[in-house]
Subunit: 112 residues, 2 copies
Amino acid sequence: MKSDALRGHLDALLLAVLDGGQLHGYAIIEALQLRSGGVLDLPTGTVYPALRRLETAGLVVSEWSTVGGRQRRTYRLTKAGQRSLVAERTAWREFTTVIDGVLGGGPWPAQA
Amino acid sequence: MKSDALRGHLDALLLAVLDGGQLHGYAIIEALQLRSGGVLDLPTGTVYPALRRLETAGLVVSEWSTVGGRQRRTYRLTKAGQRSLVAERTAWREFTTVIDGVLGGGPWPAQA
DNA sequence: CGTTATATGTAGGCAGCCGACATGTGGATC
DNA sequence: GATCCACATGTCGGCTGCCTACATATAACG
């Protein structure tokens, strides 16, 4: 899958995995791999800055902890983040409907 | 719909409308509006350069004509373009499947 | 004669994602 | 006890691609 396709949908993915419970960055990457059947393998250079952006936007909050001597920054959704996730899911559905409508139609899918 | 979402899918849209028959740039924009129910309103600054790119890539060819005193550049799919469209449709299906899998799952969609 | 619809095009900018790199711990292997 | 890998976080620079704004020209309508 060409990486450009992800553009603009990354936030939705991150919010979605965090909807299943709080996770730290590394675990988020693993969760995305698992949920996507191994297709999504997002680099840290993509995920970590994205999480910071979400936190700046108030959609997630983070908390440091130490597990087995290792530093972890655990993120969880805020109320605003949950609302945003709902909006993202709706936007995604609309988006796919529109693209499907254009791609799907054979010669011409009848207008209006 | 935020325009970033389109990233990486524009080529597929253009190829798809041209699959219904040859069209000139302006008509392509109108066709996309029509097929999307008015949601897609792509600016000329997006569509025209994209068509040039597709032509450079050998996926479409263009031909000038004059209709009612107005210059038109009409594009049509090449064999490579049709093949590319098939590939784009497949990629789109895989893409939506993956994202749906991540977004859709409630708390956890059962692994592997 | 001015405005709108038709029709094409370019240049510059911005945002998002990624590649490469840097840093540090813990456990296993040799 | 040294080395290597998995775990864990982070930054910076760059590329790519879409959009805004602008420029141009004809036809039709008022």
